[in-house]
């Protein structure tokens, strides 16, 4: 008998269930999406990100988003994801910014040395100050992970009220991506004497730029 058969057999014996016996009705998933207008969402999101010791700005155009990125990086070396909006904004053309990586080794090499990683985010959740990053050819995982500073540019219509709204819009993220990461503030630890230190293995700084996209 394989371990699989043994374990499932034990489970069924103790629960008195037959193989492939469908379960009784499952409690309905609890999803509550509050009514919030865009301005309120953006205000709450910025408040939460700042409370997590990140920075957050709300700008009107992609050009302003690009200008903000330039102010943060100051021309230093940065790796930008392949997200189209970063190119449209002109961010990938800023001095010091490199982009277009499709080979992991090259991406990794730059991510280990560049002080800044610039990405888009698929969504932001305003009630917790969270960025939702789904891996895709446009957005690699390491850009928001290896460099000490992470800059994320998010369109205003992607600011959601919270997890409930996200799982309403996208009930099965695994169908289109291998990795959905919820980032809530900088990397942190309190493992030594319960004292908070930021930037353990991931970025110690997060900068969020929200821009008003035409809808």
């Amino acid at each position: 008998m394989t371990a699989r058969e043994a374990i499932l057999g034990q489970v069924r014996m103790h629960l008195r269930r037959a193989p492939s016996q469908s379960p009784p009705a499952i409690p309905e998933a609890r999803i509550r999406v509050p009514v919030m207008d865009r301005a309120a969402r953006i205000e709450l999101l910025m408040q939460r990100v700042i409370a997590l010791s990140g920075t957050a700005v709300h700008v009107a155009t992609l050009a302003e988003a690009c200008h903000t990125v330039a102010l943060i990086t100051g021309g230093a070396s940065a790796v930008a994801s392949n997200a189209p909006l970063l190119r449209d904004a002109g961010i990938t053309a800023l001095p010091g910014v490199q982009t277009g990586f499709m080979v992991e080794a090259e991406l990794r090499a730059l991510c280990t040395t560049a002080p800044f990683g610039i990405s888009s985010a698929d969504y932001a959740l305003c009630d917790t100050g969270t960025l939702v990053m789904m891996a895709s050819p446009a957005d690699a995982r390491l850009i928001s992970l290896l460099p000490p500073v992470h800059i994320a540019v998010v369109p205003a219509d992607r600011v959601l009220s919270g997890l409930d709204e996200l799982f309403t819009l996208d009930a099965l993220p695994a169908d289109h991506t291998s990795s959905t990461v919820f980032i809530t503030g900088p990397s942190r630890t309190a493992d030594i004497e319960q004292l908070l230190v930021r930037g353990v293995h991931g970025p110690g700084e997060i900068h969020l730029i929200i821009y008003d996209n035409p809808t």
């Binding site: 374990i7 489970v11 991506t177 990795s179 919820f182 309190a190």
Partner: protein, 473 residues
């Protein structure tokens, strides 16, 4: 299964050492106190008005899953495979080690980076890998420190809470050869540099899983440092090890569980990183592992399923809130408990996973105050299960002298307590003969044990009944 079995005496000795260590007492008390107050602020009604409804929903969903566990495990397996991953089933620790080795060896794995996994602590994986020349490095800061010290976690979510910056300074100087430095920020930076190199060189990453999501074939890993993200993103092979009870039916259920987990654990609304991972990297994705394996461990869990009450122990989401709120844990600390899970949840999981005869002391290490049940995000009635286990232990002791003595004593008590006149007469006699002196004089078997840690207070000069009679107009 390799575990350290402690009898009453060992248990007592470690507890006494902990109680006699003022530094440890302060560290545990401060850390758990801080975690308690963080949790309280995070569930305040203006921040989480539906906290109680979320708990009830979490309880119902977890219970439903456990009661139909085979169904959801098979669904989980199908979906992992559909996304290009592999599922391995393991009955015990030995099979987990064999499975990890069977993945690692043909691929020439030399270095493994591990992110915090209580389940892998269950199976002593690092030792087994080392026997085969495979180095494994713990990457959670607290776990890394403990690995260098060769200690096991002190707390489910704050593994090194018993150590100070001075301990860490000494340790890093000795093991890493870095200058003696007691600044916590600098110590953290040292660990970042050392471990960053390991992440980039490792061939395999091993993680735990907070949840297995059946409808998605995904695992969910919750953390704050980014070490789990790195362990699951940088190496070319990712292996997740999880107990079979970790499965939940739907991704949508995360809207319930994630709101409860971090708040109950550290008082954060969400932890810094929650990774929802399904399969190896997809076509076109630039990074991520090329292989994705999930190891499902029984390890004693199926034994709990038969009994409706005991199976609720399997709904635990490992937030650690019951440890922080437990007056016993806060005094005796995590290392007094004989296995990886400490505190109230450890007191019910350890004897149930390993057998009552192996861990007979644990279910008695509780005052049954009920704080654990009150803060449990999935509403596990821990005191009730403790009582069940106590009763099971007493059943198994039938026929021993101690059992017979206890039985007689309680029968006598019940007889007297049900007869008011007799009770009055006996308490009067008792009051005359007892007093502080009884502590040393007690030589009856059970009474002696009981009084070894407690003083019997001197009885009042007059009983309540007498006082009442005098005061009544």
């Amino acid at each position: 299964m390799s575990t350290s079995h402690l009898d009453h005496q060992d248990f007592g000795r470690i507890i006494n050492n902990t109680l006699a260590d003022p530094h440890l007492q302060k560290a545990v008390y401060t850390a758990t106190g801080r975690l308690m107050s963080h949790r309280r602020s995070a569930i305040e009604p203006h921040l989480l008005p539906d906290y109680q409804e979320l708990r009830e929903q979490a309880r119902l969903v977890k219970l439903h899953t456990i009661e139909n566990l085979d169904w959801y495990l098979e669904q989980f397996e199908r979906n992992v495979v559909a996304h290009g991953g592999h599922v391995h089933w393991c009955r015990d620790a030995e099979e987990v080690a064999e499975t990890v080795l069977s993945i690692a060896r043909p691929r020439g794995v030399k270095l493994v980076v591990k992110s915090k996994s209580m389940t892998s602590e269950e199976v002593h994986l690092n030792d087994r890998l080392a026997e085969h020349g495979i180095e494994s490095v713990e990457t959670d800061l607290g776990e890394y420190i403990l690995q260098l010290l060769k200690q096991r976690p002190y707390h489910i979510i704050a593994p090194a809470l018993h150590l100070t910056r001075y301990d860490v300074a000494d340790l890093f100087e000795e093991k890493l050869g870095t200058p003696h430095d007691t600044v916590i920020e600098n110590q953290t930076r040292t660990a970042r540099v050392v471990l960053r190199e390991a992440f980039l060189r490792a061939d395999m990453g091993i993680s735990g899983a907070n949840f297995l999501v059946a409808d998605s074939g995904a695992i969910v890993v919750v953390e704050n440092e980014g070490n789990a993200r790195l362990s699951t993103s940088a190496p070319r092979v990712h292996v997740a090890i999880a107990g079979i009870e970790k499965v939940i039916p739907r991704a949508q259920d995360l809207a319930t569980f994630l709101k409860l987990l971090a708040r109950s654990a550290t008082g954060q609304m969400l932890s810094a990183y929650t990774s929802f991972l399904s399969g190896p990297r997809r076509a076109g994705e630039v990074d991520g592992p090329e292989e994705f394996h999930v190891i499902l461990l029984d390890g004693g869990r199926t034994k709990l399923l038969e009994d409706e009450e005991k199976r609720t122990s399997l709904t635990c989401i490992r937030c650690g809130a019951c440890l922080n709120h437990c007056p016993v844990y806060r005094k005796i600390g995590g290392h007094s408990f004989p296995w990886v899970y400490s505190g109230p949840i450890g007191a019910i999981l350890t004897p149930q996973f390993h057998g009552l005869d192996a861990e007979p002391a644990l279910p008695f290490a509780s005052s049954l105050c009920g704080a654990c049940a009150e803060v449990c995000p999935v509403k596990i009635d821990i005191p009730k299960i403790l009582l069940r286990l106590r009763s099971d232990i007493k059943e198994s002791e039938k026929g021993t002298a101690e059992h017979q003595f206890e039985r007689m004593a309680f029968r006598a008590y019940a007889y007297a307590a049900a007869r008011p006149k007799l009770w009055r007469r006996l308490t009067k006699i008792g009051a005359r003969f007892s007093g502080p002196g009884i502590r040393n004089g007690a030589s009856l078997p059970v009474v002696r044990d009981w009084l070894s840690q407690r003083d019997l207070p001197a009885p009042a000069a007059k009983s309540f009944r007498e006082l009442w009679k005098e005061r009544r107009p």
